[in-house]
Symmetry: C2
DNA sequence: GACAATCACATAACGCAGTTATATTACTTA
DNA sequence: TAAGTAATATAACTGCGTTATGTGATTGTC
């Protein structure tokens, strides 16, 4: 393998990466506009001047496309969540986590929908992969809940970190999930989601703390 | 039109209704077992010894099947919610509404998913139909929230019935929606949903009330 | 510099889905 | 008994995700 071949290899890899990137970009645009079901491989391919089969040269199948897009976006979530780790007080940290979570859901509705709002058959029975960013984030939330419990500031009925995590997660997930699914439905006169989410966080914290705080 | 023809007409209508019923029953079983996407018209038809086209003689398309099934189940929700109307205290009534709502979601996951967890393109821009059971239920929740506010027992920052309704709805929706979508995912060590939901209701109420209660 | 190999695509097609145009069969009505 | 109609079947269409196979350009080897 000489210098010329190395340069050629590098160029080919660059071109391959560039094609991959173009596919991902077109896929993201289409997924966001049309949603998962209504996005066809043919449409993605046509948008960048390829045939559908070309996509399969770069990605295993349609799910792999969404999975990669989701994984990319999830780095942002993981980072945002972990930045809250600097907050010393676990209660304040829990609130920051919730805020970052809502912000992520609202700015990345497509991967959010893919990860948390759809039931995939592969979900059942699969072993917990340590790399899964969703489970990763849950573990982080759970740990913070355990820290909150350890402060002793909660009412005595809150001793289970998983239960507390599921209460906190569920409360905020419901609001953003409804917003994503029904946000354009005029009959529900939707209030500003970020503000409502903030109130849900306040209520959750005040409702679980041992003493009235403010 | 003589007596015989009337009898014949009636019998034919009975038979037609019976076929409709059989289709709906088979569709319900399949939808519950397999979910919406994996349920095929061919499978429904085969289960009752018909060809797929026969279904189209009774229902416009696949969505119409789910819509009718959902409407049927939703009568149960509306009734269950309205039965809570007998509770005089608005705060207690709100709690009962939440309990009935969670129970409905867990016992009717398919219509729940259809109505609240999927974004349908027809949702946008459509006028509010008064018959829509979903909006009907929201209106009932909203009214109860308004009643709660009117009692004056809430903290001063809670004055908006829609906001309060969306907080209550979202909190419980999130828990059951996660359960429906990710309930079989082993990495999240799910606690008993009804119990967690009860704690969410407690926390929401205690967190919004003016004075600590118990 | 010929030549095999490989890469990055395209062509064509498969199987399955929802759906529909067109029979066919049975029953009702005149 | 003939015409009409309602209920179902047959066969096919379109569009989907996906794959087996072809093709042409580029690369590495003798």
């Amino acid at each position: 393998m000489n210098a010329r071949s190395t340069a050629s290899l590098e160029r080919r890899e660059r071109e391959r990466a560039e094609t991959r990137r173009k596919i991902l970009e077109a896929a993201r645009r289409t997924f966001v506009q049309q949603g998962y079901e209504r996005t066809t491989m043919r449409a993605i391919a046509a948008k960048i001047g390829y045939t559908p089969t070309a996509i399969y040269h770069h990605f295993k199948d349609k799910d792999a496309l969404v999975a990669e897009l989701s994984a990319l976006d999830f780095r942002a979530l993981s980072q945002a969540l972990r930045q809250t780790g600097s907050v010393a007080d676990p209660v304040e940290r829990l609130e920051k986590i919730g805020q970052a979570y809502v912000e992520f859901a609202l700015t990345h509705p497509m991967p959010y929908q893919f990860l948390f709002m759809t039931r995939r058959p592969t979900d059942a029975g699969q072993e917990a992969m340590p790399g899964d960013p969703g489970e990763d984030a849950y573990g982080f939330l759970r740990q913070t809940c355990a820290d909150v419990i350890a402060t002793g500031r909660l009412r005595p009925e809150f001793t289970d970190a998983d239960e507390l995590a599921q209460m906190a997660w569920g409360s905020l997930h419901g609001l953003v999930a409804l917003q994503i699914a029904k946000g354009n439905h005029p009959a529900f006169r939707w209030r500003d989601v970020r503000q409502t989410a903030a109130k849900i966080r306040d209520v959750t914290i005040r409702g679980t703390l041992r003493e009235p705080t403010r």
